[in-house]
């Protein structure tokens, strides 16, 4: 087919419907907040990570020096290992206990609202108050050891024995699993009842029903909570700082030196904001990698109802 010379390509006009325009206008407060309070500081911290900066004097560019120093800093791997230890105990614990509680809540009928409120209350309790509360509970003669004593167990020194400091912190962290419980509860309620009925007719026992129906249907929620709890556990700060670093009592307790606490010390005690920024970026990369791995793995395990892919 012959063509008659070059025909000018039709100009594509970027047209935005009025609805879309209004959508962006309504989004604007968040976008401004994100740019000013999140993206901006993030970019700034990236630059600062290549500087020596104490806030008082102008940043002095030192290239990769902060990152090199991190390689030689014993407290970087120490605090990362502490944090990883915590995350590896905290996340599975939260997932398992939350799921158990959510399944129990399904069975209590109308009063589940009261229980949900009770489970969620610790989440709205200030972290400093939680830390202080657990200082009392985890004391050698505190409630937890008293309960263990009832079973003939001589409880450890949760607050002063380096071996037991992190397990104690994990115990404390399980106190605030209410948010995960609520998510699981909502997900469980969305599992179609007819599937269970069909399974029962087919003779499936409770475990088979849980494995083949419940778990796949709530796998999306589990995936979400795994990611969110993992990120939160890698950032734990306030409770632990209150318990072990807020006063003189916990001074020097390296078993509780989590990564964000060390980052805070470098920034606000040692006034080394450049180094702290570099630490922040290392944490960001670690979280990114862990999340990517989780996302990759999720392709095998997560089932989205209605997803035709």
């Amino acid at each position: 087919m012959a063509t008659t010379g070059a025909t000018a390509a039709p100009k594509r006009r970027w047209r935005v419907s009025e609805q879309t325009r209004w959508g962006y206008i309504f989004l604007l407060p968040w976008i401004i907040g994100f740019v000013v309070f999140t993206a901006g500081p993030m970019l700034a911290s990236f630059y600062l990570s290549f500087t020596k900066y104490n806030v008082i004097r102008a940043p002095q560019f030192i290239g990769l020096r902060n990152y090199e120093l991190m390689l030689d800093d014993r407290r970087i791997p120490l605090s990362l290992l502490n944090t990883a230890f915590y995350a590896l105990l905290h996340v599975p614990g939260v997932i398992i206990f939350s799921l158990l509680l959510a399944m129990l809540l399904l069975r209590v009928g109308r009063s589940s609202g009261a229980f949900r409120t009770a489970f969620y209350l610790p989440n709205v309790t200030p972290a400093v108050a939680v830390g202080t509360l657990f200082l009392l509970l985890l004391a050698g003669n505190g409630l937890i050891n008293q309960v263990l004593g009832v079973f003939g167990i001589d409880g450890p020194n949760w607050l002063t024995d380096p071996t037991w400091v992190k397990p104690g912190i994990v115990l404390m962290s399980w106190w605030t699993l209410g948010a995960t419980v609520v998510i699981y509860f909502a997900a469980l309620r969305n599992v179609p009842v007819e599937l269970y009925e069909a399974a029962q007719i087919d003779g499936a026992n409770a475990w088979a029903q849980f494995k083949s129906i419940t778990l796949p249907y709530i796998s999306g929620a589990i995936f979400f909570t795994v990611i969110v709890n993992t990120i939160a556990s890698l950032q734990i700060f306030a409770e632990v700082y209150t318990m072990f670093f807020g006063g003189k009592s916990g001074a020097g307790q390296e078993a509780a030196l989590f990564y964000t606490i060390y980052l805070f010390q470098k920034a606000f005690a040692d006034l080394d904001f450049g180094y702290a920024s570099a630490m922040g970026w290392l944490l960001f990369v670690i979280i990114l990698v862990i999340t990517l791995i989780q996302v990759r793995l999720s392709n095998r395990f997560v089932f989205y109802a209605g997803d035709s892919r």
């Binding site: 380096p162 700060f237 209150t242 001074a251 020097g252 390296e254 005690a269 999720s298």
Partner: protein, 491 residues
Amino acid sequence: MLTKRTTAALSVALVLAVGACSGDNSGASPAASAGGASAPAESAGESAAASGGAPSAGGAAISGKLLVDSKYGCKPIPCTPGEGGADEIGTTRVDIFAEQYPDVELEFTEKDFDPATFLTSVAAGDPPDVVRISRDIFGTYVAEGALEPLGDCISKFGIDMSQYREPAVAAVTVGDQVYGIPEFYDSRILMINDSVVEDSGLTTADVDTADWTKLTDVAKKMSKTEGGKLTRIGFDPKLPEFLPLWAKANGASIISDDGKTSQLEDPKVIEALQYAVSLVTEQAPGPEFNDFKANGPGGKDFFGPENQFAADTLGAMPMEQWYLNVLANNSPDEKISFAPFKDKQGNPISLSGGSALAIPASAKNKDAACEYIRVLTLPDTWYAAAKVRADKRAADGEAFTGVYSGNKLADEKIFGELVNEQTAGAYYPGVQLTLETADTAFSLPPNAAAEEFTRIWQAAVVKVLTEGADAAQTLTQADQEAQDAIDAAQQ
């Protein structure tokens, strides 16, 4: 290529991770000792206001806004008693300055020193004119250029530095420059529980830190265990905080006099740590000892009537003198003896601490700030504040064991006129001993990595104490880390 789900998950990760990177300025706030802001005293020739500013001791007209990084809490100034966020030692001194300089518009941050707040205010170009910082961390702020050298202030306003206690001045002097004026002053003495000593078949004279072998025996004799659990501490060496004191007792210092060289690997420091830790472990394993100290009977009510002395769960310990006041008001009838902490040669030694008032380098009203600092640390100002407290305590039927300032002349006046056997009760010997040993105290020299240095050596002590780590190896490693930190901070 990223799927939608991947992108969504990464977005969540990004936002949450940035949350971590952006930090949180809650928490850390190394407040110094008791009291709030400071206040000035009258001195001859300093009269009231004139329009355009009152003449100060230095002859400069003092007026304008003066932002003080401290608590006060009463408005208007002078303060109406009972309304304040600071105690009477703070408000009285501020009121004296305010009366003397009515043209100075005083404003307070109403909080203790917080590094994050201070730094951001400096960065924002709106720093306080006066800051009150613990002398322990002073060196860091000097090294970072945050504080003004006070040479001009001292000469212009005629501040007599000889009136301040030397260890306190040393802690705020870097090179030949003074960067702060000492405010409060802590020192340490031994507090000995007579009933525990008696119960152990000992005398108070047996509790002697000069004889380390004997002290170990005494600690073991005074401690008690039941069912394999510690029920009474015989002697608490106060680790990790008091390592510098034990090192000094052994003839060493954990840092050089110029604050530039870590000496944690000094064999005498190592020996001191080994000994102090052994004092603990001869009584109970480190973690158990620390838990009992913090949470056991008495320990849990350290500031109350069920303290360790009242509960007889402690034989003896070195302690800051402010605890005399706690005991005097909570356990007035408790029989407690006092002794100096001695080095191995038998000489009394003590470790001093406390706060200092300083002027940020970028302060806007430096003349007023200097005069404020001068007036607040004058003997008459201190005396006036101490008098208010003494009267208040007397009216409330409470004991008064004194106010310990960094000003020798002030202390002479306060303790000469306001504190006696009647006001301090059974704790008066402790007061007298504190005053006697105050001048034997030493302070750690300011160093550029003050907080990090402290964290490093305290972590080393805790490691040896609670994990049974080798003291020599641990302190050697800590020494290297500390030196690196000091070197980096000085660059």
